[in-house]
């Protein structure tokens, strides 16, 4: 399955509290993604929490957009990527 980096902008800052509420929010997203075969691997969030770079496995860019809509998440750009591991060569 292709892997994608999805860039998102949150003008008011992304808010996912580090408590049970946050956990529920994340799990909800994971569950809604599963319907389209989309797996959220992890996200990198900028210091001001206005931008995220999210790594996903998904069958197609359409599936990424469909689940983003369902999760009310913005999408700026989707890029297909491959893994490059710097330590692989050691």
């Amino acid at each position: 399955m292709p892997r994608y980096v999805v860039e998102r902008t949150f003008p008011e800052g992304l808010e996912i509290p580090a408590d049970a509420r946050g956990a529920t929010a994340c799990l909800g997203i994971v569950e809604r993604n599963a319907d389209d075969g989309v797996t959220w691997i992890r996200s990198y969030v900028t210091g001001d929490r206005s931008k995220t770079y999210c790594v996903y496995d998904a069958p197609s860019p359409e599936a990424i957009r469909r689940t983003a809509g369902r999760n009310e998440l913005p999408v700026d750009r989707i890029t297909e990527v491959r893994v490059l591991d710097p330590y692989f060569h050691f």
Binding site: R65, R66, G69
Partner: protein, 845 residues
């Protein structure tokens, strides 16, 4: 894990979660009154039936309707649903007894279930015949409307890539509760082994926790663990007496179970033997039927029968069955190698299967007869070949359909049966066109006409003319099409044939549809609906196209015309794409691409839609779908299939800033369009060649907006596009004006559409004053509902159900389900009614 092990019955070790999932699904149905589908899957012998047994055993106050699909090579069409109809009785049984179409049976079943709720269990749907799958598919689309839990079980280890169940499972979507029955854990196997004295580790290693294998290994009672399930079953059977063993053999050749009267005829006075087998746990006797406790055990016993005694047993069954279902008789006839019986029952079974729409089974029954038909009269054999071809064609086995016709045609020729030969050639033309053999198709149709014309007006000649008119129309040769058309009208007049009469009305007119319906010509009526849906789209009357597309989709869905559904979906996708509703376009296209059908035309449009949406949004990999679409279009050599992929590839190159490639990408299609003088095609391609700086030559009937763009009237072209309802094309035209105010307007429009790539290109072109950063499209109403969600909300106000909303908006039910959940969440509402109330308080509607 100990706490999850119930005290009674070891078959149900570690099934608490699965039982709870089923119970929860049923509780939802009970509370909401909306039906649900539950799918129970797992490998053979893992314990699906035991799970269902335990689930239905625990129910109180629910009516349980239960049936299983048969493990026959060619099962009887609608088998499980006919069995259920028999149990229910009344109107359902009456309809079932008349060899119903799947939609008719489903409609009555839904009426029955809405009057009297039930838990409806269909087991082993991996063995289901095509008509049964159609009923399941239709039932699932409507399941929300009846307070019923539908449970389907299947072996997931038997689903090959092209297994017919796969496509159906895809359509079930997320509405289904999915229960995956996994093998027992090592701990559970140890618990079971504890009482037996068998080595627990060895037992687990050998059986991998497969419940049936574990049970058999324990029952085999040897010192060691048997190597295979088969060994375990045989070890158990070896301890039975001779009479009991004979009984096992007889039951083994009658899958899935043998009725008591039949058994009595086969083996009179077998009561003692039967007691011995049931006590030993090999057979189960219930509701007047005797069968193996598990299909794996039956197979193990059947495998040990020497060919001779197997044949003898099947002969005895065939003789004892009398006048049973011909599908069943054909099965035993073939196993008994009784050619006369095969030739008697297989075609009859084929005829019945085709009548209820089980074309996969019909094709196999005719193949069965044809394998033994060397001495059959040639005209009869040719007739079976044609019937096999029809059933193959309708089930996407195109190569087999063509093969059968190519054998049948020379037989008719030899017989001098010109009418049948001509008609088979017309069919050949029809079947050749679908996968894209356009030239061959035309040659066959011309040959049909040449054969049939000397015989004067006939139904077959009319249909051949219709085929010629169709091919000419598809090939964008409208003068020629009109010519064939007029000949068709003459023949229709001369013969008074109702099908020709339906065809003789303006293609795709309401009158034609009525005529077809009046004469019960369902497939023809569906074909007419295709015309009603397509014509307004090609004329860019989008409102009409959307409306008639939805009507046509509903008609074809209800009547199981799956092939036609794909055509309609591809047009709905194209219409949504051109109107800037890209999510919807992608949803429709996805539905087509999920099923591996051979029809090229819908696939080309679906791939083009996906590729273009990706390109415009700047999403990854627009080229794979576009290249595939173009390749499919070029193979057919048909202009209508080449233009859209060619234009889409040109646009994608343009968006990527590679205008210099546009000439090469469009040359072939453009030259063909010019040679044929087809206005819409020349215009669609000329626009991109013009943008790439190539000189273009316009012809008379190029669409107005294309001509305007090429002649420099960009603002006027934009206005025309807007008037037509195509916001993206309008924005592109505005962007060409060179007027910064209009270009900023274009930029905003592109942003609104999510056309990031086109917006970026405009920015690269140096237009000043364009805003930076992404837009926040969902911030436009107080509760952050998206445009789509507001649309769904409006339909909630009308009191529509998800299935109805799905139909109205041409979305899948699961998408609607998600929109509704999002609406409830965003409005903080607990129910649909509450959401509607909230929305009107907030002034969203």
């Amino acid at each position: 894990m100990a706490s999850t092990i119930p005290a009674t019955g070891f078959e149900l070790l570690e099934r608490t979660d699965e039982l709870e999932a089923l119970a929860a699904a049923l509780a939802t149905v009970d509370k909401s009154g909306w039906g649900k589908l539950a799918l129970v899957r797992g490998e053979a012998g893992v314990g699906k039936t035991a799970l269902v047994d335990s689930f239905v055993g625990s129910l109180q106050g629910w009516r349980v309707l239960r049936a299983a699909c048969e493990p026959l090579h060619t099962p009887s069409p609608l088998g499980p649903f006919l069995e259920i109809a028999d149990t229910v009785g009344g109107e359902l049984a009456r309809i079932a007894s008349r060899g119903p179409q799947p939609y008719a049976l489903t409609a009555e079943l839904l009426r029955e279930l809405s009057a009297r709720p039930a838990v409806l269990v269909i087991e082993d749907i991996h063995w289901a015949d095509e008509a049964t799958l159609d009923v399941l598919r239709l039932l699932t689309r409507r399941v929300e409307s009846v307070p019923t839990l539908v449970v389907g079980t299947y072996r997931d280890d038997e689903l090959t890539r092209n297994h017919p169940l796969r496509a159906v499972l895809g359509e079930f979507g997320v509405h289904a509760v999915r229960v995956n029955v996994i093998p027992l854990s090592q701990a559970a196997v140890a618990v079971l082994a504890a009482e037996s004295g068998l080595d627990a580790d060895a037992l687990y290693r050998q059986t991998n926790g497969n419940s049936f294998f574990v049970t058999e290994a324990l029952a085999a009672g040897g010192a060691g663990v048997p190597e295979t399930v088969r060994d375990a079953v045989l070890a158990r059977a070896a301890r039975l007496g001779n009479a009991a063993r004979r009984l096992l053999d007889a039951v083994a050749v009658v899958p899935p179970h043998v009725e008591r009267p039949l058994l009595d005829r086969l083996l009179p006075a077998a009561d003692t033997a039967l007691d011995e087998c049931t006590t030993a746990g090999m057979l189960r006797a219930a509701s007047g039927r005797v069968g193996f406790r598990h299909e794996l055990a039956r197979l193990a016993i059947e495998d040990t029968l020497p060919p001779g005694s197997r044949r003898t047993l099947h002969r005895a069954v065939l003789a004892a069955l009398g006048d049973a279902d011909p599908a069943r008789l054909a099965h035993h006839a073939e196993e008994a190698e009784d050619v006369e019986a095969i030739l008697r029952f297989a075609p009859e079974a084929g005829k019945r299967a085709a009548a209820v729409g089980s074309h996969r089974e019909a094709a196999e029954q005719y193949a069965r007869a044809l394998r033994h038909a060397d001495d059959v009269e040639p005209s009869v054999r040719a007739g079976w070949l044609v019937l096999r071809a029809i059933s193959c064609y309708l089930t996407d086995q195109n190569a087999e359909a063509l093969e059968a016709l190519r054998v049948a045609i020379p037989i008719y020729h030899e017989l001098g049966d010109t009418i049948s030969e001509g008609h088979a050639l017309k069919r050949l033309a029809e079947y050749l066109w679908c996968p894209g053999y356009v030239e061959e198709s035309r040659a066959a149709a011309l040959q049909a006409v040449a054969l049939l014309e000397p015989g004067g007006p006939s139904r077959e000649l009319g249909l051949a003319y219709d085929q010629m008119a169709f091919l000419a129309g598809q090939g964008s040769r409208s003068d020629e099409a009109r010519l064939w058309w007029n000949r068709l009208l003459e023949v229709a007049d001369a013969t008074g044939d109702p099908e020709l009469e339906a065809l003789g009305h303006a293609r795709g007119s309401a009158v034609a549809f009525e005529t077809a319906i009046d004469h019960g010509l369902i497939t023809r009526a569906g074909a007419i609906q295709l015309g009603l849906a397509a014509d307004p789209l090609w004329e860019r009357r989008y409102d009409d196209a959307d409306r008639s597309g939805r009507v046509a989709l509903a008609f074809c869905s209800d009547h199981g015309l799956e092939l036609y559904r794909h055509y309609i979906l591809s047009w709905l996708a194209t219409g949504a794409l051109e109107q800037g509703r890209w999510d919807e376009a992608v949803d429709c296209a996805d539905q087509i691409l999920r099923t591996p059908r051979a029809s090229t035309s819908p696939r080309i449009l679906a791939l083009t839609t996906i590729g273009l949406v990706r390109a415009r949004r700047g999403d990854p990999d627009p080229w794979s779908p576009l290249d595939e679409a173009y390749a499919l279009g070029t193979i057919s050599g048909e202009l209508g299939r080449m233009v859209r992929p060619a234009a889409a590839r040109a646009e994608t190159a343009w968006l990527e800033g590679r205008e210099n490639e546009i000439a090469a990408l469009t040359d072939e299609a453009y030259e063909l369009a010019q040679a044929r003088r087809i206005g819409w095609a020349v215009g669609a391609l000329a626009v991109w060649r013009h943008r790439a700086g190539l000189a273009v030559e316009l012809i008379d009937d190029v669409e107005e907006q294309h001509a305007l763009e090429i002649n420099g009237g960009h603002a006027a072209a934009a206005a025309r596009w807007t008037e037509l309802g195509c916001p993206y094309e309008a924005a592109l035209a505005l962007a060409e004006t060179g007027d910064e105010i209009l270009q900023r307007e274009a930029f905003d429009q592109l942003q609104r559409l999510g056309a990031a790539a086109a917006a970026a290109r405009l920015r690269r072109s140096g237009v000043r004053g364009l805003p930076r950063g992404p837009r926040r499209t969902t911030r436009e109403n107080p509760s952050n509902l998206t445009t789509r969600e507001v649309e769904v909300l409006r339909l909630l106000v009308e009191g529509l159900r998800n299935s109805e909303i799905a139909e109205r908006l041409v979305l899948s039910e699961r998408t609607v389900h998600h929109h509704v959940s999002a609406i409830l969440r965003k409005l903080g509402a607990g129910s649909r009614t509450e959401a509607v109330g909230r929305a009107s308080t907030l002034g969203i509607l």
